[in-house]
Symmetry: C2
Subunit: 330 residues, 2 copies
């Protein structure tokens, strides 16, 4: 594994679960890192722990511009457009990335503003049902997948962009994540299936259980606890990610609804036979377990080494996307 380093300071906008955890990890690694948080309570809490944090957006962006920092947009989706405008005004030459869970919508806002040559999209697949600075922690990204997008690689990108892309990969690798390259559309389709749909299902399960009244809630055990866990996520966060990824979510939801309708028909039929759904679901879960990091901590994701900017690197990225492979840049 190549040793990761990052060639510039890091400026994090938004110190919630993801941004705050990133600030903690980078600080612990002695990376020069500073941040902005809109809410004074989060900023004050971070300052009290000794972090270099402000509530002054213009000041933090001017500092990023002066130090040529890598800017990380770590706010929920609704704040992204106005942050992009602020970056365009106050840090017009800085490269930036983001950690938003939907990539097409962010990329479209970036392209609308002509900023694609200094943007590399990111999405760490890490989280808990908790949010805000108090939920942030060190080590959150250890072993997690961190998607880094590469759509702009098809647009004859500058060396500056390639160097930015490398820094974003290093940022993720430094905090222990496994970088998986993907184009925005493939990413959004994948996360609709493995994140947004599970959130929608968790909400429906929580409600159906609750409708069973006090007895049902008293009997609820492990299967209910785990299958509804993410229904405890703050509603505005779930709404923002699901609604922003509407088209991909509709495809995944319709697929799941068809599976459930078929299962309902099999259950209600004289045969009363759920084996098709249950056998298929079991095999799918086993395939997932084989890929996920086991209790041993060893990742089941394939690895692919590549040299950014070298001839053929874009087809290597496509191959990694197709395999769900993590990459090691050299």
């Amino acid at each position: 594994m190549t040793i990761s380093k990052i060639s510039r300071p890091v400026c994090i906008l938004g110190l919630g679960l993801i941004g705050g955890s990133l600030l903690r990890d980078l600080s612990a690694l002695d990376v020069e890192v500073f941040g902005f948080n809109r809410s004074p309570s989060g900023a004050t809490a971070a300052q009290e722990e000794g972090f270099d944090v402000t509530t002054d957006l213009v000041a933090v962006l001017e500092r990023a511009a002066t130090t040529d920092a890598l800017i990380v947009l770590a706010t929920p989706m609704p704040a992204i457009a106005s942050l992009l405008d602020a970056i365009a005004t106050h840090a017009p030459n800085c490269g930036f990335t983001d950690v938003v869970s939907v990539k097409a919508e962010v990329y479209s806002l970036v392209c609308d503003r002509g900023m694609a040559d200094r943007y590399v999209g990111g999405h760490p697949m890490a989280g808990t049902a908790d949010s805000g600075w108090p939920a942030s922690m060190t080590g959150l990204f250890k072993g997690a997948a961190w998607v880094v997008t590469f759509d702009h690689a098809y647009d004859d990108p500058t060396d500056t962009w390639i160097s930015l892309w490398i820094d974003v990969v290093h940022l993720a690798t430094l905090v222990g994540a496994e970088v998986i390259p993907s184009r925005v559309s493939a990413h959004d389709q994948a996360v609709a299936r493995i994140s947004h749909l599970p959130h929608i299902f968790a909400e429906a399960l929580a409600i159906t259980g609750d409708n069973g009244g006090a007895l049902a809630l008293s009997l609820a055990a492990g299967s209910f606890r785990d299958s509804t866990r993410v229904a405890g996520t703050h509603p505005s966060l779930v709404q923002a990610m699901c609604e922003t990824n509407r088209d991909a979510l509709l495809i995944a939801l319709d697929e799941a609804l068809e599976l459930l309708s078929d299962a309902r028909a099999h259950l209600a039929s004289p045969e009363n036979d759920l084996s098709l759904l249950i056998d298929t679901g079991y095999r799918s879960r086993i395939r997932y377990e084989a890929r996920a990091a086991g209790s041993s901590g060893i990742s089941g994701r394939p690895i692919l080494r590549l040299h950014p900017g070298a001839p053929g690197w874009v087809s290597q990225l496509e191959q990694a996307e197709n395999l769900g492979a993590r990459i090691d840049v050299f």
Copy 2:
């Protein structure tokens, strides 16, 4: 809390996750306990750990008859009918309970055989995705809900039955469970919502994620892991419990499908608004968390003290069922 004791030996038929864990806990408590397992591999493994276990069903039931043991049926549903027949033949005076996750179907088999006056239904809400003797462990039932049914209390039961009912309550309490009384029908409706439906949803989510291919499986993180966990349960166990509880499961499934169809319509509409589902689901999950034992280990279930057989005890049981309350017998 009243000190629990049990007035007779315990004979466990089936030493899988539940039966095996019960054997371990009761042994550790110095209760006289012996068991039967159909598969020699499980029986041998238990014997090698020093447990009093056989693969001879007739012998174990004759021993239960001789010692007036409380028999616990701890096999999956498909084996119950033949075990009841064996008990009728070889241990015709023993009281018995079961741990099957569906109660109406078992109760109907019991009543068909005229054995209701020596049966008390049970269901410990504990489990993992693993099964069989190797999955058994001590402490599995600590803090878990353990349903004890009381339908027969309406049939002018004998003192023998009431004493059996008390022993079943003590059995559950001894291993650290919280006893929640329920009639079979209320139980089955509740578990359809909080256990069987989550299993069905987990299967559908696992398949829909898997359909996203290698990239989706590589990106799958906490929400997918937890929401599909029980899809890793052995398919035959999931099938047995869901199909056996068909009527109640259909009601819960239809309710959930209606929630999801409404959400789909809201998502696809020009308003693109999932707030109804998400806000309601969030509030439901918060209500569940308030009832579930917190990290402090303190149960959120209300408690109700009652004296089995005393005047009015049946209406106290109905009240407990309605409140999802745990009981303390004195």
